[in-house]
């Protein structure tokens, strides 16, 4: 069910993501198989912003690599735009948790990579990259190297580098996880306004529930590993959402937060109990919220 207002009806069908009965096992160095995902069913409609929350190690990131075509499912099917994924999925961009910028390239060179890889002539690619840097507010920083930028600026570069290919799917793996709270809020606002212009389908992995609700059309809660979909919540907050910082004081936001947290809490507690000796649930709750 789609519960959003003001949707562009002419969304490209290639943005549809469909996971059916997906299981992913890894071979651990010791030889024993480790099941990261079990029987995951998930559909993301074209132009939909889907956030995935769940405890650490529940296979959230694995889901993204399967959609991107960087890895294969052990069982089940992963389809994008109606086609089963084979090889790297075209029209996809990925934003990683850690910086994936090339430290030896300038900011401009990093952003221009996507078009250059696709055979766009160098001059056109650089012009395009300049436009995108202006759009993320980094005009004047073209010739810097990534290590000369702040964490927030590097994320903007990564965002420009991801969007320049005009993807129909944007996969984001805790992209703002390492940022401080204020920068994170600003980046979230910018992400929403950029997303609104081209409306790619988004899978946004995070363990910050507030971030998930503030950004997404629907929030998927995953169980502690092996990960599977526990529940899906539609976020019926109207768009445009405005400032991510302020939306979280609204009454509906609080209700949704409460409702989803009820579902998420058990998983977080279970995951926490596995990784540590006798744990107090209070500490768990606080640890995840902060």
């Amino acid at each position: 069910m789609r519960s959003n207002t003001g949707r562009d009806p002419q969304l490209h069908p290639s943005g549809r993501i469909e996971l059916a009965g997906v299981t992913k096992r890894f071979q651990t160095p010791g030889g024993a198989p480790f099941t990261a995902l079990r029987d995951v069913d998930l559909t993301v409609e074209p132009g939909e912003f889907c956030a995935v929350v769940g405890p650490s190690g529940c296979g959230k990131s694995t889901t993204l690599t399967l959609v991107a075509g960087l890895d294969r499912a052990s069982e089940g099917t992963v389809a994008v735009g109606g086609q089963p994924v084979a090889g790297i999925t075209r029209g996809t961009s990925f934003m990683f948790q850690t910086d994936a910028l090339l430290p030896w390239k300038t900011v401009l060179g990093n952003v221009a990579m996507g078009p250059l890889f696709h055979g766009v002539p160098k001059k056109a690619a650089l012009t395009d990259a300049r436009d995108w840097l202006r759009m993320v507010g980094l005009a004047g920083f073209e010739d810097r190297h990534p290590h000369q930028l702040s964490g927030g600026m590097r994320k903007r570069v990564a965002l420009a580098a991801a969007l320049i290919n005009e993807p129909s799917i944007l996969l984001m793996d805790e992209p703002f996880g390492a940022l401080d709270v204020q920068t994170k809020a600003i980046m979230s606002d910018e992400l929403l306004s950029l997303w609104d212009q081209s409306k790619p389908s988004v899978i946004f992995v995070t363990h910050d529930l507030e971030e998930a609700i503030a950004l997404a059309d629907k929030v998927v809660v995953m169980t502690a590993g092996p990960g599977t979909v526990k529940a899906v919540f539609d976020i019926d907050l109207p768009r445009p959402r405005g400032s991510v910082q302020e939306i979280r004081f609204g009454q509906r936001f609080t209700e949704l937060h409460h409702e989803i947290w009820e579902s998420l809490r058990d998983e977080v507690t279970r995951a926490y109990a596995r990784t540590s000796a006798p744990a107090s649930p209070v500490a768990t709750v606080e640890g995840v919220r902060s």
Partner: protein, 265 residues
């Protein structure tokens, strides 16, 4: 120049004077026999004589040029081959697993001995020395290139692949620049090996070169000549080291700060 740098420079000059002054003093006083251990003044005299009147093998510049030519060509060939093979084996796991025992075996051999073989096969000209130098350089660069390729951040590769890069584009844009830090670090050592290869090749049999000069001095019981040849080789290596540092600074300009201070020691 800061006080500290000045103090280091003054002390360095002092150490130089102490070593050569002491050497000169002890040999002059016959506490140490200059026949066996040479003498700084004799070394300078020998070198000056080479410059003014040439050596038994002809002009000193011809000897230096020959050795340099062998070392530089050997270095370039060895570096190119080392990078290509290192990247290939780093990229194709199957290939590296197949070849790994052979590479280890060849690496364990005392490769310098192969120089004798090369002199027989390729003759007394420069080609046998170039091949020996290239062979020594290859292994140093290869191991570093291979390691560098294996250490490439998987995230960077995945990101480039998702952005649409082909295998070649990934190698050119991600793998090679990333491995470059490792490769360049190996070049400092590699040029030393190139010079060793050239000089040892000449000692094993040649008509020209600093190695020939040294064997000739040896045959004439001219210790000063051996030392003079050694010092000329050392100076060449220092200049090459400086050139490689320049290259390093240029190729790795993107890095936050240089770590070449460590390698300069």
């Amino acid at each position: 120049m800061t006080r500290r740098k000045l103090a280091i420079l003054v002390t360095q000059v002092f150490v130089l004077i102490l070593v050569f002054g002491g050497w000169q003093l002890f040999t002059s006083l016959k506490i140490v026999d200059p026949f066996f251990f040479g003498q700084p003044s004799g070394i300078v005299r020998t070198a000056w004589q080479w410059v003014q009147h040439g050596t038994n093998q002809g002009s000193i510049w011809l000897q230096i040029y020959t050795t340099m030519e062998e070392a530089v060509f050997g270095f370039l060939i060895g570096v190119a081959a080392g990078i290509v093979v290192g990247v290939l084996l780093g990229q194709f796991r199957f290939l590296s697993e197949v070849l790994s025992p052979y590479i280890k075996a060849v690496n364990a051999l005392p490769r310098i001995v192969l120089g004798a073989l090369f002199v027989i096969v390729l003759g007394l000209g420069i080609s046998s020395k170039i091949v020996l130098a290239a062979f020594l350089v290859f292994f140093v660069v290869f191991f570093n290139a291979y390691q560098g390729v294996r250490e490439v951040d998987g995230n960077l590769v995945n990101n480039a692949r998702v952005l649409g890069a082909s295998r070649m584009q990934v190698i050119r844009n991600v793998v090679l620049p990333s491995a470059m830090t490792w490769i360049i670090a190996s070049l400092h050592v590699a040029f030393g090996f190139a010079v060793i290869g050239a000089v040892v090749g000449e000692v094993l049999g040649a008509q020209h070169g600093l190695g020939v000069l040294i064997t000739d001095s040896q045959n004439n019981f001219n210790t000063d000549g051996i030392f003079a040849g050694m010092i000329i080789i050392g100076l060449i290596a220092l200049i090459a080291e400086w050139l490689i540092s320049l290259l390093e600074r240029r190729l790795l300009a993107w890095r936050p700060q240089m770590s070449s201070e460590a390698s300069a020691v």
